[in-house]
């Protein structure tokens, strides 16, 4: 899922400062699951902003709404009849959501309340980690299902680098060295010989594309 983190309130406050009528719009999908942009978070943020405005003696009208999904037109459509009533939309969607809403309502002011962070795995309750960077050219099959692009600080295909110590990464002593994980796992499988191979440079064009990447499936069209 896409993870996000609420921006510091100070930053949000600054963004919404010029506006009198604000709709806080959550998203019921990914960001709801990582507890940053669902209905609850919308309630909390709206409440905090209202209180903040009162404390500063400003009159602001802040309403709440959570869409099932902020990156799909059919759900965004719920805003159609409302959007004119507000000066700004404060979106708790991921970047895709914010942009999707903005694209549909080009006249409206759409502000992001979240920092979209990464494709996350829910490691345990309250802990999300990044294991995939969507490079578009998955090689997990040869790396014992540990992604060196994401999980090695240097993205080495032929690691580990000389900084790996006690199974930890040189860049962060709390992060396991991805290559240690790969080696250990291959060792257990008796596949260490896979490491003898030199992996050629990656094809980053699949990640970077020519601007935004697209997937187009004709069979999925209506």
């Amino acid at each position: 899922m896409i993870t996000g983190e609420r921006k510091p309130l100070s930053e949000i406050k600054e963004m919404v400062a010029p506006f009198k009528k604000i709709l806080v719009v959550g998203c019921g999908t990914c960001v709801a699951e990582c507890a940053s942009g669902g209905e609850k978070e919308v309630g909390l943020l709206a409440s905090a902003l209202r209180m903040d405005a009162r404390m500063e003696g400003r009159k602001v009208d802040i309403k709440e709404l959570t869409l099932d999904r902020q990156c799909v037109f059919e759900f965004i459509d719920q805003l159609t009849d409302l959007i004119d009533q507000y000066d700004a939309i404060l979106s708790l969607g991921c970047g895709a959501g914010v942009q999707a809403v903005a694209e549909i309502f080009p006249e409206a002011v759409i502000l992001p309340a979240l920092n979209t962070t990464f494709i996350g795995e829910t490691k345990e309750a309250g802990l999300w980690i990044e294991n995939c960077r969507a490079c578009g050219d998955c090689k997990l099959g040869v790396f014992a299902a540990v992604c060196p692009i994401t999980r090695c600080a240097k993205g080495l295909f032929n690691g580990p680098c000389g900084g790996s110590k006690d199974g930890k990464c040189e860049a962060d002593a709390n992060t396991p060295c991805a290559w240690q994980l790969i080696i250990d796992r291959l060792d257990k499988r008796g596949q260490l010989d896979l490491l003898q191979k030199i992996y050629p440079p990656a094809d980053w064009s699949r990640q970077q594309g020519k601007g935004p990447r697209k997937i187009h499936r004709e069979d999925q069209e209506i």
Binding site: E33, A35, A125
Partner: protein
């Protein structure tokens, strides 16, 4: 045949979330955010409808959940549990139980009779009204279709003095002066409230309710004001000041008044009826061990309507109080024995909380009933009696919109009316007048226990 009595109902949601028996207790922490989350799966969409009412800090999880336990049982991390709602536990009291109150709310909101599945879940029997069962007809009595049928079941009763015989002049003209009678389509009159938050709004709601139902509300003389004048045809004035102070102007516009029983009861009655002969004077007397005697006296002295009242728990005023149903039974039988019962009309109230109490008390001998607390409950009262203690009403009854309140009262009465029809129908009785005193068509706990269980286990 008169047109079928029909109470118009409209769905009238509460201003507050209803307080329900149990709530959902769910930990978010540890939630796996299943794609097929048990919360998304909820048949009743409880979690989707989730909302917080800040006045009550009440989560809709507590009022929409239907206790199917599927989420409790299917959450992979067992994060969902159920708990008794603390606000539910403290609704009402031993008599006005949370179950009664919430059932009344439901009827007031929907106007429908409570229907549920899976049989009866309550106690085997209980005190008071719960210690009797009404009869049904199996196969050999006339057909009827209950509330859904085409046959007419009347719930109309007449209030007033009844004549036992008529005298005719030789020319055939009627010589007997027929006393006035008031017909009400439902054997229910709204009584003085034992307590309530202050405010005209509540009175207006009751009056509007009584008017639309074709019945009456008893209003204290001291509470009369110009605003409620338009409701005079549906008001029974309870004379709590000097009777003389009630001017002939007003008296002539009233159909019924009520006077407390006292030394000069009959004299006052006569005095009032001299001013307005069409007036019916109801005599209000508390239930007590001596009340049968008094009822006998009053009846023989010409009383028209006797209104017996118990306290809000249905108990009479005595050291060892008898429950209203027992005392009414006794009064009824006492008058029957003296051959006077048919001359007088009984009203009885106090502790009438459910539709079944209507039927049961009528079986025990009253003609009609007076109700009080259920009217407040219809308007969301929680029977917490905070108003009595001078504390603000938690559901702001004082601010009730009379229109809304009367609609809720009408809904509740529609529910009661239909339930009365169910009971009458099951018994094969076509009018509630014929239910009065039909104790042979009921089963009493004490009798059955004595007959069946008391002798058990004795060997040999």
């Amino acid at each position: 045949m008169p047109p079928k009595y029909n109470i118009h109902t409209t769905r009238m949601p509460g201003r507050f979330q209803p307080v329900t028996k149990s709530g959902v207790i769910a930990w978010e922490e540890g939630c796996l955010k299943c794609t097929r989350c048990v919360k998304k799966d909820c048949v009743y969409k409880v979690y989707e409808k989730r909302e917080l009412d800040t006045r009550q800090m009440l989560d809709s999880l507590d009022s929409v959940c239907m206790d199917c336990f599927r989420c409790v049982q299917n959450c992979p991390n067992r994060l969902i549990q159920k708990g008794l709602n603390p606000a539910y536990k403290v609704l009402g009291d031993q008599y006005w139980t949370p179950e009664i109150i919430s059932t009344l709310w439901l009827q007031a909101e929907s106007g429908r009779i409570p229907v549920s599945g899976a049989g009866y879940g309550g106690p085997f029997s209980g005190p008071g009204f719960d210690a009797m069962w009404t009869d049904m007809s199996e196969i050999v009595r006339p057909t009827r279709d209950g509330i859904h049928g085409r046959e007419y079941i009347s719930t109309t009763v007449d209030l007033g003095r009844k004549l036992m015989a008529l005298e005719f002049a030789p020319d055939g003209s009627l010589m007997t002066r027929t006393p006035p009678l008031v017909e009400i389509p439902l054997p229910v009159i709204f009584d003085l409230l034992p307590w309530s938050p202050p405010g005209e709004q509540i009175t207006l709601a009751l009056l509007e309710g009584a008017k639309s139902l074709g019945t009456f509300t008893i209003i204290r003389q001291s509470d009369l004001d110009s605003e409620i004048e338009q409701y005079l045809p549906n008001i029974i004035v309870f004379i709590d000041k000097k009777p003389e102070s009630l001017g002939p102007g007003l008296l002539n516009r009233l159909r019924m008044v009520e006077i407390p029983d006292g030394k000069n009861t009959i004299a006052i009655k006569t005095m009032l009826k001299e001013i307005n002969p069409e007036l019916i004077v109801i005599i209000r007397l508390p239930l007590s061990p001596e009340v049968s005697e008094r009822a006998l006296t009053l009846t023989s002295e010409g009383a028209e309507v006797l209104h017996f009242y118990a306290d809000e728990f249905g108990l009479e005023h005595a050291d060892k109080p008898l429950f209203i149903k027992e005392r009414i039974k006794e009064i009824h039988l006492c008058l029957v024995e003296k051959g006077l019962r048919d001359q007088v009309t009984f009203l009885a109230g106090g502790g009438i909380a459910m539709a079944e109490h209507m039927a049961k008390l009528i079986i025990c001998g009253t003609d009609a009933l007076t109700i009080d607390i259920p009217l407040l409950v219809a308007m969301e009262c929680r029977v917490c009696r905070r108003c009595k203690e001078g504390i603000d009403c938690p559901v702001e009854l004082d601010k009730v919109d009379p229109e809304w309140g009367s609609a809720r009262i009408r809904n509740l009465m529609a529910g009661w009316h239909n339930q009365l029809l169910e009971i009458l129908g099951a018994m094969g009785i076509r009018e509630v007048r014929r239910l009065r005193g039909e104790m042979g068509r009921a089963m009493f706990f004490e009798d059955l226990e004595k007959e069946v269980f008391a002798t058990m286990g004795k060997r040999g």
